[in-house]
C-alpha cells in the first residue's frame, strides 16, 4: 500500500475540494433562493482571477488583489442580476438558463478580447515549502484550503445568526411569505447573487497561482461545481460542501492508480449513481 502517496493525495483532494466547495456554495446559494441555474458562474470565477491579476500588477499586494477582486465581481454580479435576471422573475426557469448562458458567452469573449489568449500567472503571496515524504509541498496550497474553509465558515455563521442571513433563509424557503413579512425580496436576490459572485471571485484569485489564468478557465471548474451541486442536493449548502470534498478526495485517490484525466470519470460515476439512486442529492436527509 503506497501510504505516502495516499496521504499526499488526501491532502491534494482536500485542497481542491475546498476550492470547489467555495465555487459550489455560491452556485447552490443562488439556485436555492432564486431557482436560477447560473451558467455564468464559471465566468465570474474567471473574471475574478483576471481582476486579481490586474490589481496584483498595479498594487503588488496579493491580499489587496484578493479583496478588491471580490468587491468588483460582487458589484458586477449585482449589476448582472438586476439587468438580466430580475426582469425574468416569475417567468419560465428556462429563460434564466438562456440569460445566464448568454452572459457566460459574453463574459468569456470579453475576457478573450480584453486580455488575449495567452494565459497570465498570479504570483502566490509566498513560495515556502515543507517536506512531505518525497515531495516539497507548497504551503500556499494549505493556505488555500484554510482560507476557503474560513470563507465558507463565515458564510455559514452569517447565514445562521445574521439578520440578513435569516432574511436569505426565509426567502429561500418561501419567497411570498418572506415579502409579506416585510423582507425586500428583490434586494435579497441581488445581494445573494453578489455574495455568490464574490465567492466565485475569491476562488478564482486563490486558484490562479496553481493554474494559468485564461478566458476558458471557468469551464472546467463550473462543470465540476455543477456535479457537486447536484450530488449535494440542489440548493443545499452543507450538502454541496460535503460533496465537493467527497468528490475531490475520490478523484485524488483514484489518480494514484489511473491517470488524472481518467480520474475525472469518478465524479461522473458519482453523479450518475446519485441521479439513479438519490436524485434529490446524496447529503439530503430522506424526507419523512
Amino acid at each position: 500500500m503506497p501510504f505516502d502517496q495516499i496521504l499526499i493525495q488526501l491532502i491534494n483532494g482536500i485542497v481542491s475540494g475546498m476550492i470547489l466547495a467555495l465555487v459550489a456554495s455560491g452556485l447552490t446559494l443562488i439556485f436555492g433562493i432564486m431557482d436560477v441555474v447560473n451558467f455564468a458562474h464559471g465566468e465570474l470565477f474567471m473574471l475574478g482571477a483576471y481582476a486579481g491579476v490586474t490589481i496584483l500588477a498595479a498594487t503588488g499586494n496579493f491580499w489587496v488583489a484578493l479583496l478588491a477582486a471580490c468587491v468588483i465581481i460582487a458589484l458586477l454580479g449585482a449589476a448582472l442580476q438586476v439587468v438580466a435576471l430580475r426582469p425574468l422573475v416569475g417567468r419560465d426557469p428556462l429563460t434564466t438558463i438562456l440569460a445566464t448562458f448568454g452572459i457566460s458567452l459574453v463574459l468569456q469573449n470579453y475576457a478573450l478580447w480584453q486580455f488575449g489568449p495567452v494565459a497570465r500567472k498570479i504570483q502566490e503571496p509566498f513560495t515556502g515549502h515543507f517536506r512531505l515524504f518525497y515531495l516539497e509541498y507548497p504551503w500556499y496550497r494549505i493556505l488555500i484550503a484554510v482560507l476557503s474553509a474560513a470563507i465558507i465558515g463565515m458564510l455559514w455563521l452569517f447565514m445562521k445568526y445574521g439578520k440578513y442571513g435569516i432574511w436569505i433563509r426565509a426567502t429561500t424557503q418561501d419567497r411570498i411569505m418572506a415579502s409579506a413579512m416585510g423582507i425586500p425580496v428583490p434586494l435579497v436576490h441581488t445581494a445573494v447573487f453578489a455574495i455568490g459572485a464574490a465567492m466565485a471571485a475569491a476562488s478564482g484569485v486563490l486558484f490562479g497561482p496553481l493554474v494559468g489564468v485564461n478566458h476558458a478557465m471557468g469551464l472546467d471548474v463550473i462543470l465540476r461545481a455543477f456535479i457537486v451541486v447536484v450530488v449535494g442536493g440542489m440548493g443545499n449548502l452543507g450538502g454541496s460542501i460535503l460533496a465537493a470534498i467527497f468528490i475531490s478526495l475520490l478523484e485524488a485517490l483514484a489518480s494514484i492508480w489511473v491517470s488524472p484525466a481518467q480520474a475525472v470519470i469518478v465524479s461522473f460515476v458519482v453523479l450518475i449513481l446519485t441521479l439513479l439512486f438519490r436524485p434529490t442529492g446524496l447529503f439530503v436527509p430522506t424526507p419523512k
Binding site: 435569516i166 426565509a170 424557503q173 411570498i176 411569505m177 409579506a180 413579512m181 416585510g182 425586500p184 428583490p186
Partner: protein, 235 residues
C-alpha cells in the same frame, strides 16, 4: 383606514373578484364570510399585494397602495396570516419571529418587549423557540403565524381562516388572541367559515358570493337574520 373600491382581480384568465368594495376602520374587527371559493382569500391576497388587481383602488390610511410590493405594505403596518400559515419550516420559532422583528427602527428594548408580549399570549412559543417551525403542531403553527405577524407591530392584520382545522380548545385560544389584538387597537379583517366565531368577535360583517360582496351588516343584525345566513352560507 383600509378601503377597497371596486377591486377586480384575475388569476390568469379567470375573473375572481368582480368589483369588491370593503372598508375597515382603525381598530375595528371586520368579518368576511362566504362559502369556499367565493374570493375571500383572494381579497386578502389582493390587499397584501400578492396578486395585482386589474382594476379598482386600494387605499390604506389615505394613501393609494394599489400595486405596491408586499414588503412595502408590511412595513406600512399590514400584517398577513395566510390560510395555510406558511411558517418558515426550517427556521426556528425565534427566527420565524425575527423575520418581522429585524427592522432598523426596532430598538433592542422594544424588541424584547414585543417578544415578551407574544410569549405571554402564546407561552408554548417561548418553550419551543429554538425548535424548527416545521416540527410544531397545526395549532402551534397557527399561533406562530399570528405571532409572526404581530412582530411587525401592524395597524391591521389580515387573518385568513385562523381556526380552520383546529381543535375547539385552540379555536377558543385564537378567539382570545383576536380579542387581545382588538384591545390593542389593531384592526382585523377576518376571513372565516366559522359563523358563530365571526359574529362573536366582529363588529361588522361582509358576505361574499361569486367574487362580490352581496351583503353587509353589523354582526348583531346578521346574527338575528337567520334567512340571510342560510341563503349565503348554508347554515
Amino acid at each position: 383606514m383600509l378601503a377597497l373600491e371596486n377591486v377586480h382581480t384575475y388569476y390568469g384568465k379567470s375573473h375572481v373578484l368582480h368589483g369588491v368594495s370593503i372598508r375597515v376602520e382603525a381598530g375595528e374587527v371586520v368579518g368576511l364570510l362566504g362559502r369556499n371559493g367565493v374570493g375571500k382569500s383572494t381579497t386578502l391576497k389582493t390587499i397584501m399585494g400578492l396578486v395585482r388587481p386589474s382594476a379598482g383602488r386600494i387605499s390604506f390610511e389615505g394613501q393609494d397602495i394599489t400595486g405596491l410590493a408586499p414588503h412595502r405594505l408590511a412595513r406600512l403596518g399590514i400584517g398577513y396570516v395566510p390560510e395555510d400559515r406558511r411558517i418558515f419550516r426550517l427556521l426556528t420559532v425565534l427566527e420565524n419571529l425575527r423575520t418581522g422583528l429585524d427592522r432598523a427602527e426596532v430598538t433592542p428594548s422594544r424588541r424584547q418587549e414585543l417578544l415578551e408580549k407574544v410569549y405571554a399570549s402564546f407561552p408554548v412559543l417561548r418553550e419551543r423557540r429554538h425548535q424548527a417551525g416545521g416540527t410544531l403542531s397545526g395549532g402551534e403553527q397557527q399561533m406562530l403565524a399570528i405571532a409572526r405577524a404581530m412582530m411587525l407591530e401592524p395597524k391591521i392584520v389580515l387573518l385568513d381562516e385562523p381556526t380552520e382545522g383546529l381543535m375547539p380548545r385552540m379555536v377558543a385560544h385564537i378567539r382570545e388572541i383576536i380579542d387581545v389584538l382588538h384591545r390593542d387597537a389593531v384592526a382585523i379583517l377576518l376571513v372565516e367559515q366559522n359563523v358563530p366565531l365571526t359574529l362573536a368577535v366582529a363588529g361588522r360583517v361582509y358576505i361574499m358570493e361569486k367574487g362580490a360582496v352581496r351583503h353587509h351588516a353589523t354582526a348583531t343584525e346578521l346574527g338575528a337574520n337567520a334567512a340571510v345566513i342560510h341563503q349565503y352560507l348554508g347554515v
